[in-house]
Structures are given as structure tokens and as C-alpha cells.
């Protein structure tokens, strides 16, 4: 299956934090083709194990499979639906969005807005708070209530769109982009020899507190951990120092969350193999799985590679597919050499 087709399938599969079944099953099927063992645990974390030649150590690569979204919160008179957020939303992103509600049936709707004709003066200067927004399916109240119930997941209607060059745009690129890096890494790793066992993990509930990463790192107890996520892409209005460039390669993270020497060796590997990369600086422990994996069980030395992503936590998250390919290549080489690297710098 082509990388871009997997990107489309992964981004369009539903999986808000806590309801990751669909995307978990998709990923398990992908892992099954590329690993020796693939399974889903009781929290819907997806684990694929590729055995090394010596199995002398374990490297765990984690990318979260959950995405932000909403839950059905309240039914109002007339069949309108109030929603509760899952993960971090900017309320300014929401008006006029198409959404899909996964109830007994799949029901489509829009987040309601007031047309200019019916607005009062001054309305355009206001932001509607999330609590005041509602979803309109157009259906009669009784038709809504027989098909949906409180707690049903509500997702942005999502179409993965190819743009100029190798740019793609979709909701849930955060972090299906990282998931795709795991698959790209496995694809390249097939052609390489590696001593250690490689644990590929699609983690759940990252957006609500990096829980799947904590849980799986505790179970697996890896010798080295790698978090793969997305990072802020360049965009006007955001200082360059806070962003990474689309098309500049994976961003290797530097900061207290990450093992400095392992990070150095990752960067050296990228230089040796002439794989484009960039650095990003996280002066405080950040919001990725690395933050919980680092202190899981007896602790895990971490590295992190992120895919530059514009418009994070909107419905049009945009990236350059080349960055995913490059990150996959870098991580495959890192996994192939991790036994030596670990011996030299972690010991």
C-alpha cells in the first residue's frame, strides 16, 4: 500500500481520545504485515513487535493514535446537540464546521452559525464560546434521539486532500502523521539488520494527558524510547524560533525530556546519511508521550522526532509528506544501530 494511501486511511479513521477502536484496528492490520506480532491491548493501544537478531534490548517507538474531538453532551429542544470538547480546541475554529456523529448510525451535522442577515451590530467582533455552540443535524428531535445518545463521539468531517507538491491537509494529522512514521520506519527496517527488538506502539489518550504512552512504556519497559509526534509548522504571526519548517525534515527535540547523548547520536546519524532534519527546542517537559514515557516504571531514556505541521488542532492540519519519509528513514537507521549507540552513550 502506498504511503499516501495509508495517510488518507489513517487520517480519515475515527479515534477521539478514549474511543480509538476504529483507528486501532486499522493500525493493527498495517502492523501485522510488517512485524512478527501485532496486537491491541485492553486500552486500545496497538503494539507491533519486530524481533531483532539478538533481542538483547528493546527500543520502543510511540506515536499516539487518538485525536481531538467532542462528545454529545445534551439534547436540546428541536433536536439540537450541545457538545463537550475532548482535547484542546480553539473556539474560533468551530463555527460552520461539518461534523460526523458516531451513534447507532453515522449522522452528519454542522456547527451552527448566524448568517450575516440575522446578526446584530457588533456580533462580528465576538467569539462564540464553545458552551454556546451547538450541532445541527437538520433532523427532527425524535429522529435525533432514537439514533444518538449522550457520550457519542463527534468528529470533524474529514477529507485528506493533496495540495501542491507533497503537501497534504486533513484533520487528525496530529498524530496520524506520527503513526505513519512508524509504518514508514518498519517498511525501511525490513531491508536492514537490527539486533534489538523493535516495539512499535500506537498509543491512546495522548490528547487528554499522555496516558497510553505511560501505560505501554510501563508494560514494555524499553531500554530506549522514541516519541514521534507533530510540531508547530512555520506560519506568519508565529516567531521562527517556535516553529519548524515544512519540508525541512523531521524535528529532533532538545530539552530536559530527552536524553542528550542519544539525541546527539540521532543528529549525527542524520548528518552521516545526509537525511534532512531540524532541531526543535523544548525547554520544559512538553505535551507529548515522551513526558510520561521518560518516567515510566524505572525510567526510559527518550528521543523525539516530530513532523512539522501547520494549523495544529484545526480541521486543516497541513504537512509535507517528504518529512514523514525522511523521519522514517532516520528512525529505521537509528533502530538498526541502537545496540551500538546504547552501549556507547547510555551503558
Amino acid at each position: 500500500m502506498k504511503t499516501e494511501d495509508m495517510l488518507k486511511a489513517l487520517t480519515e479513521a475515527p479515534g477521539i481520545s478514549g474511543s480509538e477502536e476504529d483507528v486501532a484496528h486499522l493500525l493493527r492490520n498495517y502492523f501485522a504485515r510488517l512485524t512478527d506480532e501485532a496486537f491491541i491491548d485492553k486500552f486500545n493501544n496497538v503494539i507491533g513487535i519486530k524481533k531483532g537478531t539478538s533481542s538483547a534490548g528493546k527500543v520502543m517507538m510511540a506515536a499516539h493514535i487518538d485525536q481531538i474531538g467532542f462528545l454529545v453532551h445534551t439534547f436540546e429542544e428541536g433536536g439540537f446537540i450541545r457538545i463537550a470538547p475532548i482535547g484542546g480546541h480553539d473556539p474560533r475554529v468551530l463555527p460552520g464546521q461539518s461534523v460526523i456523529i458516531y451513534g447507532k448510525e453515522i449522522i452528519r451535522g454542522v456547527i451552527g452559525t448566524t448568517p450575516p442577515h440575522l446578526q446584530k451590530s457588533g456580533d462580528t467582533g465576538k467569539v462564540t464560546a464553545l458552551e454556546e455552540l451547538y450541532v445541527d443535524t437538520g433532523l427532527k428531535e425524535e429522529d435525533v434521539k432514537t439514533r444518538l445518545q449522550i457520550g457519542d463521539p463527534v468528529l470533524f468531517d474529514n477529507v485528506c486532500t493533496r495540495m501542491a507538491g507533497d503537501y497534504y491537509s486533513a484533520a487528525a494529522m496530529d498524530n496520524r502523521a506520527g503513526v505513519l512514521v512508524l509504518l514508514e520506519t518498519l517498511r525501511i527496517l525490513k531491508g536492514l539488520k537490527h539486533q534489538w527488538d523493535v516495539y512499535m506502539v500506537g498509543t491512546v489518550q495522548e490528547e487528554v494527558g499522555t496516558r497510553g504512552g505511560a501505560l505501554t512504556a510501563y508494560e514494555i519497559k524499553p531500554d530506549v524510547g522514541i516519541a514521534i509526534d507533530v510540531t508547530f509548522g512555520d506560519f506568519p504571526g508565529i516567531p521562527d524560533r517556535q516553529t519548524s519548517k515544512l519540508g525541512g525534515g523531521g524535528a529532533v527535540a532538545v530539552g530536559p525530556n530527552f536524553h542528550p547523548k542519544l539525541t546527539e547520536r540521532m543528529i549525527a546519524l542524520a548528518r552521516d546519511w545526509e537525511i534532512p532534519f531540524q532541531k526543535e527546542f523544548n525547554p520544559r517537559p512538553g505535551g507529548t508521550d515522551a513526558v510520561s514515557m521518560q518516567i515510566a516504571a524505572r525510567g526510559v531514556p527518550m528521543v523525539q522526532v516530530s513532523i512539522p505541521l501547520r494549523y495544529m488542532h484545526t480541521t486543516v492540519e497541513t504537512l509535507d509528506l517528504q518529512d514523514i519519509r525522511r523521519a522514517g528513514r532516520l528512525l529505521a537507521l537509528f533502530a538498526a544501530h541502537i545496540d551500538e549507540i546504547h552501549g556507547e552513550v547510555v551503558g
Binding site: 436540546e76 428541536g78 439540537f80 484542546g88 480546541h89 480553539d90 473556539p91 474560533r92 475554529v93 463555527p95 460552520g96 464546521q97 461539518s98 449522522i107 452528519r108 454542522v110 451552527g112 452559525t113 448566524t114 448568517p115 450575516p116 442577515h117 440575522l118 446578526q119 462580528t124 467582533g125 465576538k126 467569539v127 451547538y134 445541527d136 443535524t137 437538520g138 433532523l139 427532527k140 429522529d143 477529507v159 486532500t161 493533496r162 495540495m163 501542491a164 507538491g165 503537501y167 491537509s169 508547530f232 512555520d234 506560519f235 506568519p236 504571526g237 508565529i238 517556535q242 519540508g247 505535551g287 501547520r310 494549523y311 495544529m312 488542532h313 484545526t314 480541521t315 486543516v316 497541513t318
Partner: protein, 343 residues
């Protein structure tokens, strides 16, 4: 019936750039009318004469154009600047997929991630100056080669049916266009007792421009406009008028900002609805304007607007009830079939 609305809704035709929707409408109606023609502004005329003697001449209008965007600048990093075309609330543009030009080049309007915002940043709407269209171009040259300045853009929205409603873009006024097309597509044994000139107009959303030249060119006795209008029966303040309500039938307008409806025509339509047992309602707000605003004053042409209630017009996706749409077609057809004897 819904099939025509679906095709028209999915077609692109931002004000001043109605080629695609006009070609589609022409193709749909041409075998059902005596002649079709297009004027220099792009208005599409269809003539459907009657054999009846001394029949009144009725001008039926629906506007083809939809609100959208125009690309007005290119940044060195390949991002595009744009301006709204027609009444677009810029708060609705954030985080949307856009199609640009005839080639439908995909683009997105993004926003700064919530993670990088200051504490109170989300409390003010993003101004137009903070919005760009991103087509994935890496520099100005690539961007302007793919999307030259002046290119029109619209929301990337696909029509959907869901039980007794449909969801889609541009129901203002593709609902009126498809309603009018359905009126023209009569069976062989059907004939209206009136002489009909149907005009699918351009540039309504930027100031009723296309319709401004019709009165002089057509010289009708009456004019009726078909619209997709605001349905406000949604959760809002209790004191606010819903304007029109879904599933309560087509709406008759007493007045809007541009015209007062002809009481003769309104009475004829409401009487017809009663006789034929077709639900109808009156539009309860006087906001907005329609093509009759610039038609009725030129030569004194009694005019009226009949609308299909649509929730969320001028937004990426609207919702209308199929029964309202079908009842609007029924009511318009019955009223026209019985036009002569009542007036």
C-alpha cells in the same frame, strides 16, 4: 427533484464567475424551453411562451452566483491573500477547505495553534489580515503559477442527503435556481397560461448587479424571485425572530430592505396554498435584499419573493428540509398554472 438541486449546489459560481453553474443550468433546461440566451453580464435567459391569448408576461428570477472569495495577493512564502466576495463572515473562514478557480485547486485557511496562543487570544475573532489561503506552494512563484491573482474561491463542500433533509453549500440561491429549473421542465401536456421569461441572474450577492438590467430588457408584467433564505429556528435568544422556520413550508416575503412585495401576488400565492393544501409561512424579518429590489422600480413591476427556508446560508454548509423545497416547487407551479384567473 433533489438530483437537480444536488448538481447545482455542487457547481461553482462565485459572483462574477458564474460560467460553470450557467453551463450546467443551460444544459438542464434547454430542451424544455423555446430559446435560451446569455447577455453580456452573463445572465441566462430562457423563454417559455404560452399559446394563451393576451397572456401576462411573468419574469421569474433566481440568482446563480454564490458568496466566496477572491485571491488578491501572494506572499513570498507561497501563502495567498484574499478578500471576501459578497456577505461572508470572516469568522467562518477559519479552518476551512477551499477550492480555487476552474481547476478547483485545493487550498486551506488555517490558524495559529491554540498551544501557541496567549491566554486571551482566542477571545477575539481572527481578523481577515491574519488569514491566508495555503495551497502548499513553497514560494510566490509557485503560488501565482497555480493560482493567479483574481482567481475565485469557494468552500469545498459536497452535497449530502440525510433522511428528510439535505446538506450542502450555496443553497442561497441554488435552491431557487433548481426550483426555477423544475418549473421550466414541464410535462408535454402541461402549459402555463402565462408567457414566462426565466432569468438566472449573476452578481446578486455583490449588489443585485445582474438583475439591474432585466426590467428594461424583458419588460414583464410581473416578477417573482425564488430564493433560499435565512431559517433562524435554531438555539438563539428568545426575543430574536426566527425569520423563517424549517418544515413550515415555503416563505412569502412582505418586504425586505430592497422591496415591498406586491400584495396581489402574495395573496394569490397564499390563496393558492390554501386551496391546494400546501403549507406556507411568511418571512418574519426584513433583512437582506433580493433581485426584485432593482426590478420592481423600473417601470413599476409588481413583484414578489418566494423562498425555501435554509439554515446557515452564506456558510460552508447549509441545511434545508426536502419537504419545504418540494412544497415551494408545488406552490410556485400551482400559482403559475392558475395565474390568469386569480389576478
Amino acid at each position: 427533484m433533489i438530483h437537480v438541486l444536488e448538481k447545482f449546489s455542487n457547481a461553482i459560481g462565485v459572483s462574477g464567475n458564474e460560467d460553470e453553474i450557467r453551463a450546467l443550468i443551460e444544459e438542464t433546461i434547454k430542451d424544455h424551453v423555446e430559446s435560451v440566451s446569455v447577455d453580456f453580464m452573463g445572465n441566462l435567459y430562457a423563454v417559455k411562451p404560452t399559446k394563451a391569448k393576451n397572456a401576462p408576461h411573468v419574469l421569474l428570477v433566481a440568482h446563480m452566483d454564490e458568496v466566496g472569495l477572491m485571491v488578491t495577493g501572494t506572499e513570498s512564502n507561497g501563502l495567498l491573500r484574499f478578500s471576501p466576495v459578497g456577505g461572508v463572515d470572516s469568522r467562518l473562514l477559519v479552518s476551512k477547505r477551499i477550492l480555487l478557480g476552474k481547476e478547483r485547486v485545493p487550498g486551506v485557511i488555517g490558524a495559529k495553534p491554540i498551544h501557541l496562543q496567549d491566554r486571551n487570544e482566542w477571545k477575539s475573532p481572527l481578523p481577515l489580515s491574519a488569514l491566508y489561503i495555503d495551497i502548499g506552494a513553497s514560494d510566490e512563484k509557485e503560488a501565482s503559477a497555480k493560482v493567479p491573482l483574481g482567481t475565485f474561491g469557494t468552500f469545498q463542500t459536497v452535497f449530502e442527503s440525510q433522511r428528510d433533509v439535505v446538506l450542502g453549500k450555496a443553497f442561497d440561491d441554488r435552491a431557487g435556481c433548481s426550483l426555477l429549473a423544475e418549473l421550466l421542465m414541464t410535462e408535454n401536456d402541461e402549459e402555463y397560461p402565462v408567457h414566462i421569461t426565466a432569468v438566472f441572474t449573476v452578481q446578486e450577492e455583490v449588489g443585485l448587479r445582474g438583475a439591474s438590467i432585466l426590467a428594461e430588457r424583458v419588460r414583464p408584467d410581473y416578477c417573482i424571485a425564488f430564493e433560499g433564505t435565512t431559517a433562524g429556528d435554531v438555539p438563539r435568544g428568545v426575543s430574536e425572530s426566527p425569520s423563517t422556520e424549517m418544515r413550515k413550508g415555503p416563505a412569502l416575503s412582505f418586504m425586505d430592505r430592497t422591496a415591498i412585495g406586491s400584495d396581489k401576488l402574495i395573496n394569490h400565492f397564499s390563496q393558492t396554498a390554501k386551496i391546494k393544501n400546501i403549507p406556507y409561512q411568511y418571512k418574519k424579518t426584513v433583512s437582506g435584499g433580493t433581485d426584485i429590489g432593482v426590478i420592481h422600480i423600473k417601470g413599476g413591476i409588481p413583484s414578489m419573493v418566494l423562498s425555501v427556508p435554509v439554515r446557515y446560508i452564506h456558510a460552508p454548509k447549509g441545511i434545508l428540509a426536502v419537504e419545504d423545497y418540494k412544497n415551494a416547487i408545488r406552490l410556485a407551479k400551482e400559482a403559475l398554472m392558475n395565474f390568469k384567473e386569480v389576478l
